[in-house]
């Protein structure tokens, strides 16, 4: 976790690219505050502006408007080599004509650190990423995973205030990636460096981060802890991007004696739970996580439908239920009792939705 003092502050940052009579609004009015020693992740689909934001912090692009502050100092016109931040590039960008040792030492050499200190730091950094002994090799002689660690060591050797990571794990295969996720998290906790991590993989964002910023089409949609973002998505996009969600359109009506009711187009209805800001007659979209819903026998649940598909994942099973007027709802349950098939495709079933599992989104 981080303490309260903000390390990086982004204020109304915008970036417009003008390429051959076309205008691309890569980033629009982004405002963020990142705290000391935080593992902060920018997540979103390609083109959402997360990499642009990272590059603006690093100094590879200049903002069209807005400010970036590092420890209250504006970064404004500072070129990248004057900013105390370092980047781990998606393509690693290791210098092919230098050895691993020389790569890791590069930043220190540029800063004029003396030779003895450099040797020591390089050894420390390589040890940190478990690559001792590979110093004399060239990048071309290393595997993808090893190259990735060298890129990490090269950045960390400079003890930056902030480490920027641009989708560093996207080129690795699954097993390797999972291992590196754990290692990166461990590294961050040990060194206490503020990490700003960019990824398009929402699972990665959830598992590694202290806080997440979900972005789309150049805008920041929501900032919060993984739990916040998952349990209380701010809008339809966030709900859909992070994890799976069922969306149901309904109308809120106040019924006497109850907190209120959501009425669906198909005539079904169920009770509401949080109704604080809702007006009678308001059209809303309800977001329900598949794992919060349950599949029950016909007549015992909230919504009635037909079981159309069963998808077995090993650890859990997802049931697709066709509910008239709602489309297909997904219900996910863990295979606690092994893969026992209680229900069969074609059965008439009910979907049980606990009232507190319903998240109301504006329509």
């Amino acid at each position: 976790m981080g303490d309260a003092a903000p390390v990086v502050e982004i204020k109304h940052l915008s970036k417009i690219f003008r390429e051959a009579k076309e205008e691309v609004r890569a980033l629009e009015d982004a405002t963020l505050s990142i705290r000391q020693s935080e593992f902060f992740t920018l997540v979103g689909p390609s083109g959402c502006g997360k990499t642009t934001l990272l590059r603006l912090i690093a100094g590879f692009e200049q903002p069209t408007s807005g400010e970036i502050l590092l420890y209250d100092q504006p970064l404004a016109d500072l070129p990248p080599y004057r900013r105390p931040v370092n980047t781990v590039f998606q393509s690693y960008a290791l210098f092919p004509h230098l050895t691993v040792d020389q790569n890791v030492a590069f930043g220190l050499e540029m800063q004029g650190v003396d030779a003895a200190r450099i040797t020591q730091r390089v050894a420390e950094s390589l040890a940190l990423v478990q690559l001792e002994g590979l110093g004399p090799r060239r990048p071309s002689q290393l595997s993808g995973g090893q190259q990735q660690r060298v890129a990490l060591a090269r950045a960390l050797a400079n003890r930056p205030k902030v480490l920027l990571l641009d989708e560093p794990l996207s080129a690795l295969d699954l097993k390797l990636r999972k291992g590196m996720q754990i290692e990166l998290k461990r590294l961050q906790l040990n060194t206490g460096i503020t990490f700003i991590f960019v990824t398009h993989d929402q699972e990665e964002a959830l598992t590694m981060s202290d806080r997440i910023a979900v972005m789309n089409k150049g805008r920041i949609l929501q900032v919060g802890t993984p739990t916040d973002v998952y349990e209380k998505p701010a809008d339809r996009f966030v709900a859909n991007f992070i994890g799976d969600t069922n969306f149901i359109e309904a109308q809120f009506r106040e019924d006497a004696g109850t907190a209120g009711c959501f009425h669906l187009a198909n005539g079904m209805a169920f009770d509401a739970h949080e109704t604080n800001d809702l007006i009678a007659g308001q059209h809303v979209v309800l977001a329900i996580r598949p794992e919060r819903a349950a599949l029950v026998e016909h007549g015992l649940g909230t919504l009635a439908g037909t079981l159309s598909n069963i998808v077995y994942f090993g650890t859990d099973t997802t049931y697709h239920v066709a509910v008239p007027g709602c489309g297909e709802l997904q219900v996910r349950s863990q295979n606690r009792q092994g893969a026992g098939a209680h229900f069969h495709t074609g059965d008439a079933v009910d979907v049980q939705i606990p009232p507190d599992a319903v998240r109301v989104l504006a329509s």
């Binding site: 990248p80 004057r82 980047t87 590039f89 960008a93 930043g107 800063q111 090269r154």
Partner: protein
Amino acid sequence: MSRLSRNPLMRFPGMAPVAGFAFAFLYMPIFVLIALSFNENRIATIWSGFSTHWYGVVLGNDDILHAAQNSIVVAVVAALTGTLLATIAALGMARGRFRGQTGATAVLVLPLIVPEIVTAVATLLFFVLIGFKLGLLTVMVAHTVFCIPFAYLPIRARLDGMDPALAEAAADLYANEWQAFRRVTLPLLWPGILSGGLLSFIISLDDFVLTYFVAGAGATTLPVYIFGMIRIGVTPEVNAVSALMLAVSILVVSLSWLIGRTQR
């Protein structure tokens, strides 16, 4: 066309014989020339024995040596100047689009498009008009003009093939523009520069038409001299000196080829 090409299905009838003929066609005259240069006989095309006599005659001929020296001096100066101008131009053209880019590229490769006889005429008229006396300097200047695009193309190709993230990584690691250039861009660009330089050198060494027009007296280069010799007649000396020029060209091209292959 990769590994799949080893599939015997990919054999097109007639390909191999035509290719064979083409290679034979390309190399037969060269072999004939080299073979005849070792001919003892004064009459070039009647073989009477193996001899390196004519090579000795050629290497002892002061005029030839002087012309060769001129050629080399011109080639070195033109290649160095042309490569330098081409290198900084390539660096200026890299990374991103800007206004006038197509125009600049067009001008840079113009010497490759304009027929050499046209360039020769135009350059001659220019030198005469401004009173620039024809001599070795005029040849150097004229050669530099076409050395620029010959060096520019391989350097530009090499630059375009470089990961743009490398320059950014250097800046990220506290290198200012000059340091980044010296420690990252230049070492990686170097094989391209060398290759471009060697190619320019060879092109200048072999040049005839342009040199013929703008060389003054005393500024004869080897190709111009050989042309004069051929005009007079076919002699064994011509064979020998031609074979020597061939050997030099092949050597330099091979060198340039090897350099291009070592750095991937």
